[in-house]
């Protein structure tokens, strides 16, 4: 792997990778903020980032219910550098067209599935794609825009994505890419809270969705360099609870397999992940020490 170039290139040029939640199950149920309105807020926001600095770059990745895809990349759009030719609004016909294609593809892929128990969108997929894209930017040389990820999420967390989302978060942390998140759903998202906390990003759950654009511009439009000078919303209390491997429910106390660190919500005889058998002491000395160790806990 090529080494990550020095981050000392302090500039206010940013690359914002926006992860757009397009989960139809969430947006049809959301009454306070229809998708069209949400989209117009987001488009105005994307526009304003591009206007803040000529070299700013925006990439939009849609995370749908069945698939994820890139739907907009300002660097591949040649006309975007000419603000005087009056083409600004038509930039987004491109985005809307791709978004529509994506939604149709997403719907088609979901046709053959009847069970609709899970209502989450594929956050892990879009996060992984965003990180791959950012690595490519890092590889491009010592002069590159400062990347960050912005998750615009509304659907609830998908517990089955826990491991993948955490892997993505740690990878982002290692390459010092902050993950900002703006959650428009009903309850707080534990995944996004952790993502923003671990990577040093900002987590916001807007109180008034009508003013979404204002939240976006005041909090998420500032580049990483300027962030140190302004007062950003601070975390109100991060949910560090894990979800257990057996029922995928969020727990605050549980049992950990000492061999593989799998989390279970109740006592099992055998670990379903690694196959270790528990509670069977293999020698007398160790069982004695087990008892001693367990005594103060139980």
């Amino acid at each position: 792997m090529t080494s990550v170039p020095s981050k000392l290139y302090s500039d206010d040029v940013s690359l914002v990778v926006v992860l757009l939640d397009t989960n139809p199950f969430f947006w049809t149920a959301s009454s306070s903020l229809p998708f069209s309105q949400f989209l117009s807020h987001v488009m105005a926001f994307v526009n304003s980032i591009l206007l803040l600095n000529q070299l700013n770059q925006v990439v939009v990745i849609a995370s749908g219910y069945n698939t994820c895809d890139y739907i907009y990349d300002s660097s591949s759009d040649a006309s975007q550098l000419g603000p005087e030719n009056g083409k600004m609004p038509s930039l987004y016909s491109n985005l809307l067209q791709k978004l529509e294609d994506f939604m149709i593809k997403d719907e088609k892929l979901g046709k053959d599935q009847s069970q609709r128990a899970i209502k989450s969108s594929l956050l892990s997929g879009s996060m992984s794609m965003a990180l791959c894209y950012i690595q490519r930017v890092f590889r491009s040389g010592p002069f590159h825009p400062q990347p960050r990820i912005l998750c615009l999420q509304g659907s609830p967390d998908g517990p089955e994505q826990y491991v993948a989302v955490m892997n993505a978060i740690f990878s982002a942390q290692r390459s010092m890419v902050p993950i900002d998140s703006c959650y428009v759903g009903a309850h707080n998202s534990a995944f996004l809270q952790q993502a923003s906390y671990i990577t040093g990003g900002v987590y916001v759950k807007p109180q008034h969705l009508d003013g979404l654009f204002q939240y976006l511009t005041t909090v998420f439009a500032t580049d990483l360099h300027s962030r140190s000078f302004i007062q950003l919303p601070r975390p109100a209390g991060v949910d560090f609870r894990a979800s257990c491997f057996c029922h995928k429910t969020t727990i605050d106390m549980g049992y950990i397999c000492s061999v593989c660190l799998s989390i279970f919500c109740n006592h099992h005889k055998k670990c379903s992940t690694c196959g270790s058998v528990f509670g069977q002491a293999q020698s007398d000395t160790s069982s004695a020490s087990d008892l001693k160790r367990k005594a103060p806990e139980t």
Partner: protein, 413 residues
């Protein structure tokens, strides 16, 4: 107008970049590498150009990946993830030998520092302690602990060498400490041995048997030559024995010990450990912490069982004794358990199939997979989701991300 200026600026930047790259390359080759001619090759027209390292690096990386995946090919992966590791540094007079520059001791210290950081990144619930052999005796430099900074600081403060080296004394000392840790932990010793002799007070064979009996996995990295006693120790206790050829080889060898070793059933006894996942207290909340017995504002964690406040994770609750961790601590190790399959290289014949030619960009980063001359460059494909990836993404995905973007963006039915 603005357009033109921007265009010019970009071009200029690109030019600068190229120059910078070349200069850096030359600088390194001129000063760091004595055999600079080995890094050159001749192209078709007889011009000299730097070796194309990319393909070579990738081949190397793939070999490593394959060896790793075959080693853990059994469908259920067992790894010893809760490790208690003693690092034994030989600071006898042999450590001052200058065959490694500036000296063996300096090289060992530098790499141990890097190793400690890497170790805690990969094993957040594990603990390290440092032991030093000097003047024929072994003494403990730091006790088992989970903070990389304190170990590194202690190590750097005590860097001088003298006297003989004694393997038996070191093993006896470590054995005494490791015998006390709970049975679910993996007991490991990593000895960095510079000397060619060992000056022991008693029968070292007895000590080795004692170590074997208490299930300590002893590994040795030698800095001079292979020694029978070290080899014997490693064979008996199930560890790895290797001898470093040069500094980069030594670094490679020591880093091999950072990922958790496969758990051997008889070594650590599987157990369910009850743990709590505390929530972070809200900013500005005032409470008395149970660890310092002081009144503190915000920045704490609340034990889910007894609601006591603790300052740092991972720890054990002072009030109810529950082990408190945060889920990210555990999640850091999960990629060891759910590794992603190595990607297959795409052979030219398969590229020629018409239905496969449609995808011309890397699924991860959208980079074109076609060279300027419309010649498809080397790329890989995931055997599960059949998406194509470029070589850079391949390495990033397997070494850092541990997620396949293609598989993650498909709903598993």
């Amino acid at each position: 107008m603005a357009n033109n200026i921007a265009e010019k600026r970009r071009q200029q930047e690109e030019d600068d970049e190229e120059e910078d790259g070349d200069l850096d390359g030359w600088g390194e080759r001129n000063y760091a590498d004595e055999r600079s001619w080995e890094a050159l090759q001749e192209d078709e027209s007889g011009l000299l150009r730097p070796l194309d390292n990319k393909a070579m690096y990738h081949a190397q990386y793939r070999r490593r990946l394959r060896s790793l995946s075959t080693a853990s090919n059994s469908q259920r992966i067992q790894k010893g993830l809760i490790r208690f590791l003693y690092i034994v540094l030989d600071l006898s007079r042999a450590a001052s030998v200058m065959d490694f520059r500036p000296s063996r001791m300096a090289v060992v210290a530098k790499n141990v520092e890097a190793f400690i950081r890497e170790f805690f990144d990969q094993n957040p619930l594990s603990q390290i302690a440092l032991v030093i052999i000097k003047d024929g005796v072994a003494y403990s430099l730091t006790d088992l602990g989970g903070s990389p900074e304190s170990h590194v600081k202690a190590l750097m403060a005590k860097l001088e060498c003298s006297g003989d080296s004694s393997l038996q004394n070191a093993l006896e000392l470590v054995h005494e400490y490791l015998d006390q840790i709970p049975s679910y932990g993996n007991r490991e010793v990593l000895i960095l041995y510079s000397a060619l002799t060992t000056c022991d007070p008693g029968d070292i064979m007895e000590t080795i048997q004692k170590c074997k009996k208490s299930k300590m996995r002893c590994s040795v990295i030698g800095l001079s030559a292979e020694m029978f006693i070290c080899k014997h120790l490693c064979q008996e206790t199930g560890g790895l024995y290797s001898v470093a050829l040069d500094e980069s080889h030594f670094k490679e060898l020591i880093m091999e010990h950072a990922p958790p070793p496969p758990a051997i059933a008889e070594f650590a006894i599987a157990n369910l450990i009850k743990m709590g996942f505390p929530q972070r207290a809200a900013e500005g909340s005032i409470s008395i912490c149970s660890c310092h017995k002081e009144c503190k504002v915000g920045e704490g964690y609340i034990c889910p069982r007894c609601k006591a406040r603790v300052c740092e994770l991972p720890t054990e609750c002072r009030i109810c004794g529950l082990t408190l961790v945060s889920s990210p601590h555990l999640a850091r190790s999960y990629h060891h358990l759910f590794p992603i399959t190595p990607f297959d290289e795409v052979t030219p014949s398969r590229q020629n199939e018409p239905h496969r030619r449609s995808q011309k960009t890397c699924f991860g980063c959208q980079q074109g997979l076609v060279n300027p001359g419309n010649k498809p460059s080397l790329h890989v494909t995931c055997p599960k989701c059949k998406q194509y990836f470029c070589l850079d993404c391949d390495i990033y995905i397997h070494e850092s991300l541990h997620n396949c973007p293609g598989c993650e963006s498909l709903r598993a039915s």
